[in-house]
Symmetry: C2
Subunit: 171 residues, 2 copies
């Protein structure tokens, strides 16, 4: 390989933001009781939505992997395509110290995921569910069937492929 | 160039998400009255925060360009480095149709930006401010000095480099 091509390759590798920062990789995180591993680079994913849960006193952002973002861009989100991964990142609500009418994220609560794979997760509506609690990312649930709790709640949106999030409108 | 290298280059180009989708590029958007052009690919930027403005009845997400994200990752955000661009994307609040205690984004309201360049914007606290309204992205303001309104409000956080957003804690 000549040096021009080597330089070009190096440049393209630098450009590639598919490679997350080391700080963004999730290391030493135990899998969920159903075997799901935490997605390695979810914090570098693009945004699909946000919400303020008044009942839970929490703020959330919803991020998606590239398959999810492509689905949003092409308006193919009911059903979401196989391989979609949605991440919901949740913080306790707090008031902005200088602007009390602004509710902003406080302490980190948890990150939770939905992974679309109809063959792998036929008993949970075609989605693999998992959640990791707190900054130490402790897996949620004690037995492999913990995700039945997730499905029961998400049944409220079964006509929307069991997904609460509606992708935000953008120009 | 042999075909193996050509394939490798093609693959790396595909990987590179630094190139936004054509749909994400901002075309035919008029500049703000102070001459600031809308950042081309802000919708592909990573998230820094979110908020629910009770006084404005709106939900917001705050995104940053790569300089901003690097500053967040290295905890160098007061002051933010030269070249930082912060985007605040704002939607009218609405209730989730199937979960009324969840406040979620409704109609798109506007996107607004802060661009750190102390030499270029000495009269507005070292930041260039601009905002575009609605899905048709109409520039906000009528004269070049419209940004004095922005600075007056952001004076509440002058000890935080005039930035309201505190980057969210993440594992």
């Amino acid at each position: 390989m000549n040096s021009t091509i080597k330089h070009l390759l190096s440049f393209l590798l630098l450009l590639s933001c598919a490679a997350p920062n080391a700080a963004q990789l999730q290391k030493n995180v135990a899998p969920a009781p159903n075997g799901i591993e935490i997605p390695a680079n979810y914090k570098s994913w693009k945004i699909i939505g946000t919400s303020h849960r008044l009942d839970k006193h929490s703020l959330r952002v919803i991020l998606g992997n590239q398959i999810a973002i492509n689905a949003v861009n092409t308006h193919q989100t009911n059903p979401w395509p196989e391989g979609t991964v949605l991440a919901k990142v949740v913080w306790k609500e707090t008031q902005h110290p200088k602007w009390p009418d602004a509710i902003v994220p406080g302490a980190f609560e948890h990150a939770e995921f939905m992974i679309k794979d109809q063959k792998k997760y036929p008993n949970t509506a075609g989605w693999g569910f998992a959640r990791w609690l707190g900054l130490d990312q402790k897996p949620y649930g004690t037995t492999a069937d913990f995700a039945q709790e997730c499905v029961a709640c998400h049944a409220a949106v079964k006509d929307n492929d069991h997904v609460f999030t509606v992708p935000v409108p953008l120009p």
